[in-house]
Amino acid sequence: MQFMLLFSRQGKLRLQKWYVPLADAQKKKISREVIQMVLARKPKMCSFLEWRDLKIVYKRYASLYFCCAVEDQENELITLEIIHRYVELLDKYFGSVCELDIIFNFEKAYYILDEFILGGEAQETSKKNVLKAIEQADMLQEEAETPRSVLEEIGLT
């Protein structure tokens, strides 16, 4: 996989993960192009598109589009299921995930993705194992936190 993009129906990018080195300007250009292309498609159309020498595989979940660019020889259906598995992971972790969860906890969305896919390849396909890893990290987090005052929290001190 070369990159994964999550974006809203309005074309707002919510998460981007690049598995090939690209300059920022190029990333922006590609995101714009791909988002525009995918948003232009009608609901019943197929989930695969040829784009440059890659394949775009996308699926819409509620207001969010999940979109992957994979190499030419890659299996389209399994890529669709990678997307679905990621959605399931988000859903399990956040509990009925919605777009807002991903906006406000973007760093978590990235952590979960890293546990699931690394360097563009599926690393751990078991839902249970991925969530276990994330929850362990959360435990470490809670132990580490010390309570702080409300004022400090909202940055007024």
Binding site: L13, Q16, Y19, P21, L22, D24, R41, K42, K44, M45, C46, S47, F48, L49, E50, W51, R52, N75, E76, L77, I78, L80, E81, I82, Y93, F94, G95, C98, D101, I103, F104, N105, F106, E107, K108, Y110, Y111, D114, L118, G119, G120, E121, A122, Q123, E124, T125, S126, A133, A137, D138, L140, Q141, E142, A144, E145, T146, R148, E153, I154, G155
Partner: protein, 978 residues
């Protein structure tokens, strides 16, 4: 703000995100962000040391701002500080920031690598995974240098946790992809392969990706993975009935790196697995969820890919085809799309071609009724792939009718495909002519030059279709509004073969002329130029039209036309028609001779066009092979007698011209759009259209046009010619390309002889030393060499066009070379004008009684006469703009065939002979060069720009020069160098 906030919760961050979301306008958002950036900057700079939590919060805010699309140029140091924190969440945010905002500051990289090193050796699996994720996310060369040695050790160590192994495998894969030279598996190979046997499914899943990639590069070292993969596949898929779709797909993919297993038992097991997968596809679904069917079918499609890859099991291939046939009518669009795509490859297998053909009606229906253009595109591809002589007429007719409503994005490709099919499977050439003229009628705008060149090429080469072609274009031109391409074809064909229909009073010479001339004023300059040439040909064909045509040529709108080309043609043709005798006219304006056989330029174009939806090159090669067989061997119902008849009627071009089985194509590389002209009209040089150029006298000597006699032959003085020199060796183009950017080296070597070269060039002169080394212990007798200038320099049909471009004189060479000895030959070269073809060197000698006779191309290319020109940025761009006429520019986009190392590229460009200009192009990645080619007749200024795209491993090369032929030639030469 949503209630959910697991784990920690950085309230400040959440407040900030809410603020941003509440912004009513873009301006408000930017204002809020700038305020926040100022705040964070002051916190980072402030005297008060920040605690870990605040640092984490601010770094996270910066990350959020960056992800919104704003530039962030600070905070890296704070993020690096977080890396060394003992608190997991701080470390985690630090790593995330570093992964997303990679920075090339070397000091930072040192610090980051240090932190990673600490975490890797911490033996805390969570920390180790974080560090590995970071390496995999960044994947830079510096990281490869620092960790490529360490990670394999972690991967195979017995005490490494499973989760760490998984990360290590994929981390290594990423490093291997960016810096394959730094990742050396060596001693680890066998242990890595054995990860396929690991108990932990996740470890296997991750490891397969790594092994697959390594196998593609070093198949031999990893070939033990085949049997392991087969046993894993049968274990995981068939026996336990564990649906492990990711794993199964990856295993099937890995097997596609190898040929079918040689071991009978392994192969038997694999075939059994593949059969099971095909069987399962027939079973009723175990769940209604789309995920279930997707997972099942993902494996099925991967298995079919493997079956196609093996292409050796007829039974499986036919079963696969039947299965895909069912999907063609499935209600899921995705499955229909994939079935069409997959069938396309099945169509090229001899075992399943017939089975694919049975679905023709369904596919045609898909082309007509699918609502999604990408699915229609697949259907068109499949029709193209399944086409053979038996169904060509039906498929071409369907594609033509689809073309009328086809989406603009795919029309050009459709046109090319129709043109190729029509040509490839043409039994009767009137059908071919009809089809192409229909193409021009329906989609004239999308008919590229190659297509109409090709129809002319074929008509010229086959005299059985010329009369029909003339009649048909004449009729087509009757339409009140016809496409300009139609006018071009019409002009050319009537100019050559109008006499074949002139007997009919309805198409008498004057009627033909008036018809053509009625289109004249609506056409562009190049078309009008072509028509002028058709007119002069008319004067030869039909003397009765002479006065009418001279009248037209003499009119102010021609003879005083503001366009130089038109004016010159009008003047010259008028003069030619008034002073030349009919004999001279008949010689000058003789019918075009047959074109040499070569690969279809259209096919070359389609191959090159790797745009969306283009059929893969492989597939076309397949088609090509098949086409050759069909047209040549005529096994599948080819109309042999017809072909034989047409062969007999045209002496030189055999059916192969159409069968695309042309021997080694002269332009082995896919020619650029511009050089396709060379392809089609090769003998005429790459000027505008050769048809016209052939008529055109050399500009330098236009007044002596008729004085120049045919005896004025201009071949270079040959030394001795006894037997006919052999045609150049097939590899001679490649050898020539080797010397474009260098002057010295070994030109050629076989078991007997080695030829070394040293050469030097100054201005328009060159001297070349050839060293012939006898590698045997036996004498070479009657050793003779001959240097000739081929192609456009000699073999012109119209003698007036020939004028010398290159003067090559070879000093005689010793006729005897002792065993183990070397003799030297000096060749003097003078460049008179710009040229394309290299001189040929023919070598003959007797070795132990047998005559050796072969030819090579001497590496003399136009760039050898470059004088570098230094210039400043302003000058460069000013000159660049001055050379803005479309024909002055030649451009090529091509895939890198070597590494894209900047220094190597620079060295090659310098070797080319131009000046490499620094600090001219605003993009430092690009290269620009300038130089002047020195010929005796003129100087040709040339500018070059090379834009590498290391991401796509592609280059775009643009050459502009004051002569179009030079731009084309340089572009062709250089495209082979990188």
């Amino acid at each position: 703000m949503p209630a959910v906030s697991k784990g920690d919760g950085m309230r400040g961050l959440a407040v900030f995100i809410s603020d941003i979301r509440n912004c009513k306008s873009k301006e408000a958002e930017i204002k809020r962000i700038n305020k926040e950036l100022a705040n964070i900057r002051s916190k980072f700079k402030g005297d008060k040391a920040l605690d870990g939590y605040s640092k984490k919060k601010y770094v996270c805010k910066l990350l959020f701002i960056f992800l919104l699309g704003h530039d962030i140029d600070f905070g890296h140091m704070e993020a690096v500080n977080l890396l060394s924190s003992n608190k997991y969440t701080e470390k985690q945010i630090g790593y995330l920031f570093i992964s997303v905002l990679v920075n090339s500051n070397s000091e930072l990289i040192r610090l980051i690598n240090n932190a990673i090193k600490n975490d890797l050796s911490s033996r805390n699996p969570t920390f180790m995974c974080l560090a590995l994720h970071c390496i995999a996310n960044v994947g830079s060369r510096e990281m490869a240098e620092a960790f490529a040695g360490e990670i394999p050790r972690i991967l195979v160590a017995g005490d490494t946790m499973d989760s760490v192994k998984q990360s290590a495998a994929l981390c290594l894969l990423r490093l291997y992809k960016t810096s394959p030279d730094l990742v050396l598996m060596g001693e680890w190979t066998s242990r890595v392969v054995h990860l396929l046997n690991d108990q932990h499914m996740g470890v296997v899943t991750a490891a397969i990706s790594l092994i697959t990639c390594l196998s593609q590069k070093n198949p031999d070292e990893f070939k033990t993975c085949v049997s392991l993969a087969v046993s894993r596949l049968s274990r995981d898929y068939t026996y336990y009935f564990v649906p492990a779709p990711w794993l199964s797909c990856k295993l099937l993919r890995l097997l596609q790196c190898y040929p079918p297993p040689e071991d009978g038992a392994v192969k038997g097991r694999l075939v059994e697995c593949l059969e099971t997968i095909l069987n399962k596809a027939q079973e009723p679904p175990k769940s209604k969820k789309v995920q279930h069917s997707n997972a099942k079918n993902a494996i099925l499609f991967e298995a079919i890919s493997l079956i196609i890859h093996y292409d050796s099991e007829p039974n499986l291939l036919v079963r696969a085809c039947n299965q895909l046939g069912q999907f063609l009518q499935h209600r899921e669009t995705n499955l229909r799309y994939l079935a069409l795509e997959s069938m396309c490859t099945l169509a090229s297998s001899e075992f399943s071609h017939e089975a694919v053909k049975t679905h023709i009606e369904t596919v045609i229906n898909a082309l007509k009724t699918e609502r999604d253009v990408s699915v229609r595109q697949r259907a068109a591809d499949l029709l193209y792939a399944m086409c053979d002589r038996s169904n060509a007429k039906q498929i071409v007719a369907e594609m033509l009718s689809y073309l009328e409503t086809a989406d603009y994005s795919i029309r050009e490709e459709m046109v090319l495909k129709v043109a190729i099919l029509a040509e490839k499977y043409a039994v009767d050439y009137s059908w071919y002519v009809d089809t192409i003229l229909n193409l021009i009628r329906i989609a004239g705008d999308y008919v590229s030059e190659e297509v109409w060149y090709r129809v002319i090429q074929i008509v010229i080469n086959r005299d059985d279709v010329q009369g029909y072609a003339a009649k048909t274009v004449f009729e087509a031109l009757q339409a009140p509004a016809c496409h300009e391409n139609m006018v071009k074809v019409g002009g050319y064909i009537l100019g050559e073969f109008g006499n074949l229909i002139a007997g009919d009073p309805r198409s008498s010479p004057l009627v033909q002329f008036n018809l053509l001339h009625s289109k004249f004023h609506l056409c562009s300059v190049p078309t009008r130029a072509l028509l002028l040439s058709a007119y002069i040909k008319f004067i030869n064909l039909f003397p009765e039209t002479k006065s009418t045509i001279q009248e037209v040529l003499r009119s102010d709108s021609q003879i005083r036309n503001s366009d130089v080309e038109l004016q010159q043609r009008a003047v010259e043709y008028l003069k030619l028609s008034s002073i030349a005798s009919t004999d001279v006219l008949a010689t000058v304006l003789e019918e075009m001779p047959p074109f040499p056989e070569r690969e279809s330029s259209i096919l070359a174009k389609l191959k090159k066009k790797k745009g969306p939806g283009a059929v893969s090159v492989n597939e076309l090669e397949e088609g090509k092979r098949e086409g050759g067989e069909l047209n040549g061997g005529g096994e599948r119902g080819a109309d042999n007698s017809n072909m034989a008849a047409s062969n007999a009627s045209t002496p030189s071009p055999s059916a192969d011209l159409l069968g695309l089985r042309a021997g080694p194509p002269v332009n082995a590389a896919a020619p650029s759009a511009g050089s396709l002209l060379v392809d089609v009209f090769s003998e005429a040089g790459a000027n505008d259209d050769g048809f016209l150029r052939d008529l055109e006298p050399p500009t330098e000597s236009s007044d002596s046009l008729l004085a120049e006699g045919p005896g004025d032959s201009d071949s270079a003085p040959p030394s001795v010619v006894s037997e006919d020199p052999a045609a150049p060796l097939p590899e001679s183009n490649e050898l020539l390309n080797k010397f474009v950017c260098k002057n010295n080296g070994v030109l050629f070597e076989n078991q007997l002889l080695q030829i070394g070269i040293k050469s030097e060039y100054r201005q328009n002169l060159g001297r070349m030393y050839l060293f012939y080394g006898n590698k045997t212990s036996v004498q070479f007798l009657t050793f003779t060499t001959t240097v000739t200038c081929p192609g456009e320099l000699q073999s012109h049909i119209l003698f007036m066009c020939t004028f010398k471009k290159l003067n090559v004189q070879a000093k005689p060479v010793e006729p005897l070379i002792e065993g183990g000895a070397q003799v030297q030959q000096v060749i003097n070269i003078e460049c008179l004008g710009d040229f394309c073809d290299a001189p040929l060197l023919n070598i003959k000698f007797r070795y132990g009684g047998a005559l050796q006779n072969f030819s090579l191309k001497l590496p003399v290319t136009i760039n050898k006469f470059f004088q570098p020109t230094e210039m400043a940025s302003n000058d460069f761009f000013q000159r660049w703009k001055q050379l803005s006429q479309p024909q002055q520019e030649a451009q090529k986009i091509f895939k890198a065939s070597h590494g894209m190392d900047t220094e190597v590229i620079k060295a090659k460009l310098l070797g080319l002979g131009m000046a490499l200009l620094e600090n001219v192009d605003p993009n430092p990645e690009n290269f620009v060069c300038a130089g002047v080619i020195q010929t005796k007749a003129q100087q040709v200024g040339s500018l070059l720009r090379l834009e590498p795209n290391s991401q796509a491993q592609m280059y775009r090369l643009t050459v502009r020069s004051s002569k179009d032929t030079v731009s084309q030639r340089l572009c062709e030469l250089l495209a082979e160098q990188f």
